[in-house]
């Protein structure tokens, strides 16, 4: 589930950080067409579906073809004593990344929206940097910079892990910031804050009772996407010698194709689940407003 490169979200200008494009309204009405003309979209979509579903079918098939029995691959995979620790590490990393990212982004986004709106372009530019610096270049740079004395931050497994989590948080900035900023913009945070202040509310009240409830959705969106990204990230984890899910999987793919197939399906389902949740959640909110 590694992101191959720039992820669409931040650059498409979509609210839900790149999770999915939702058909918002009825959309532009499709023009009346001849009967044949009406078929083209279906044909194109059918082609697309064939292309996208076939690899999944192949994987399903392979996962069931272990020579020791249909479900052997799944049994081996789920019983693999290395997978669960790797999975666990990835999950912990994901949660930690979300935490770090939120702690930095949410106050910053609020601050910028409220007090320094002219700084927005600069911040947005910085959040574009993860797209300009490919993962493999970033990990090269991080290792060279932080493993040399006097910094020596990568001397232990866990200290490297911390650096990696920080790197992941930086990689999540485009989505997190875009999501939270959009959320703040949609509630017109300046007016809301000023209204609350004019009614006598203090800062803690404003933040907890006025701002936070209204951007819960945006935060959730950004968090889910970040989680999916971290869970599937290979390049940085690999070169930092971290035993997370993706490097483990890369190993399996090479040596144990059947189990790899099973794991792939699990990975795909988890991605679908978390991103599907983003769509569902943002769709419900869209209808509320």
């Amino acid at each position: 589930m590694t992101i191959a490169g720039p992820q669409s979200g931040s650059l498409t200008g979509h609210g839900a950080a790149g999770g999915a494009v939702q058909p918002t309204g009825p959309g532009p009405a499709p023009p009346r067409r001849s009967r044949l003309g009406r078929l083209w979209p279906w044909f194109i979509v059918a082609l697309g579906v064939v292309y996208f579903v076939t690899p999944l079918l192949g994987t399903i098939r392979l996962s069931l073809r272990h020579n020791k029995g249909t479900w052997e691959a799944w049994r081996l995979m789920l019983g693999n004593d290395q997978m669960w620790p790797a999975f666990g590490q990835s999950i912990v990393n994901g949660l930690a990344t979300i935490l770090v990212s939120l702690l930095i982004i949410v106050p910053t986004a609020y601050w910028v929206a409220l007090k320094m709106p002219r700084l927005r372009p600069l911040i947005e530019f910085i959040t574009l940097l993860p797209f300009v610096i490919p993962g493999v270049v970033l990990v090269l740079a991080l290792i060279r910079l932080y493993s040399a004395p006097p910094l020596l931050l990568t001397s232990t497994y866990n200290s490297t892990r911390v650096v990696m989590i920080c790197a992941y948080a930086a990689l999540s900035f485009p989505y997190m910031y875009r999501s939270v900023d959009n959320g703040l913009r949609s509630i017109d945070v300046r007016s809301l804050t000023e209204a609350a202040q004019s009614l006598g509310a203090g800062w803690p009240t404003i933040v907890t009772k006025v701002i936070f409830p209204n951007i819960r959705l945006a935060i959730l969106s950004g968090a889910l996407l970040t989680f999916a990204i971290v869970l599937g990230e290979l390049t940085i984890a690999l070169y930092m010698a971290q035993r997370t899910l993706a490097p483990f999987m890369a190993d399996i793919v090479r040596n144990k194709p059947f189990e790899a197939a099973a794991l792939t399906l699990i990975a795909f389902s988890v991605t679908w689940l978390s991103l599907g949740m983003i769509s569902y959640v943002t769709n419900r909110a869209g209808r509320r407003t």
């Binding site: 498409t12 279906w42 194109i44 983003i278």
Partner: protein, 298 residues
């Protein structure tokens, strides 16, 4: 905290005389420091080291040394794959997006398709490679089925572990990325333009040829360039698929991390900076084109 002296800089292009330190900047410090430490500083250091020769002096020779076959071949391969997947991904992705927005498909179908686009654009790296190996690898499902029908795709030149194979795999996330990026622009086509053109007697072909496509062209070009960058910077999928056998630019850099395959650390840094340059240019062009297209389509 001390109060700083006036700094003679123009921030963000605003035409103001020397700005004074404001406490406001404190609020964005955590962000700036974090991004600085993890994104900006490493890149700068990388750049600095790429300009350092083996003796420690500042020099451009690393960049000159990039003209070796190893580096040139890897860049050529990466560019080839990126171009093809950007073009094919862009064209078919556009058709998909058109079908979804203007194709008159029922609501649930569109919803499902767009959720899937979001998922598929993230489905890269190891699972994607595994899925394709399982399907069109040498003993993949599809390969075997076709062989049984008498058609051996590997004999006709297809090879999952070659540049063709990688391109096919990359399309799996290029198509959805194109859909995600171009859909807002297609949605931005005013329905009145279509009606006005119909009213004036234009056929569907004429509408697309004279109005819709010209208006969409900046967005489409920008999106394709984004796709190019996306493929160029991709590492995980190729790695999971071929290990180190197919030497893309990103794979080369990865190998440089694990061991000095280029026999010259400075060269490695130069290659890395070269990649950053390519990415920066492509993202830059994309941003410019996007801003232009927003003028007509926002």
């Amino acid at each position: 905290m001390s109060v700083a002296e006036p700094v003679r800089k123009n921030m963000g292009g605003a035409k103001r005389p020397p700005f004074r330190f404001r406490w406001n900047w404190l609020g964005v410090m955590p962000f700036l420091l974090f991004a600085g430490a993890l994104l900006i500083l490493p890149t700068i250091v990388l750049g600095a080291r790429s300009l350092t020769g083996p003796d420690g002096a500042t020099t451009f020779e690393n960049y000159g040394n990039m003209a070796t076959p190893v580096v040139i071949d890897s860049f050529r391969l990466s560019i080839k794959i990126s171009l093809i997947t950007a073009l094919v991904g862009g064209m078919f992705g556009f058709l998909l997006a058109w079908s979804m927005v203007l194709g008159g498909l029922p609501r649930p179908v569109r919803s499902l398709l767009s959720t899937f686009s979001g998922v598929a654009s993230n489905f890269a790296g190891v699972p994607l490679a595994a899925a394709f190996i399982a399907t069109v690898g040498r003993v993949g499902l599809f390969t075997i089925l076709l062989k049984a029908a008498g058609f051996d795709i590997y004999k006709v030149g297809f090879d999952l572990y070659s540049f063709i194979g990688i391109s096919v795999v990359y399309l799996y996330f290029q198509f959805p990325l194109m859909v995600l990026v171009i859909t807002p622009s297609i949605e931005g086509l005013k329905k009145e333009w279509r009606e006005a053109s119909e009213n004036l007697g234009a056929s569907t072909y004429q509408y697309w040829r004279h109005i819709a496509l010209p208006v969409l062209m900046p967005s489409i070009l920008g999106a394709m360039i984004l796709l190019f960058g996306n493929a160029f910077g991709a590492h995980a999928t190729a790695f999971a698929l071929t290990g180190g056998n197919l030497r893309l630019a990103t794979i080369l850099i990865g190998q440089q991390i694990s061991g000095d395959v280029l026999q010259n650390p400075g060269l490695g840094y130069a290659v890395a900076m070269g990649m950053v340059a390519v990415m920066a240019v492509s993202i830059g062009i994309y941003s410019i084109l996007q801003r232009r297209s927003e003028r007509w389509l926002a």
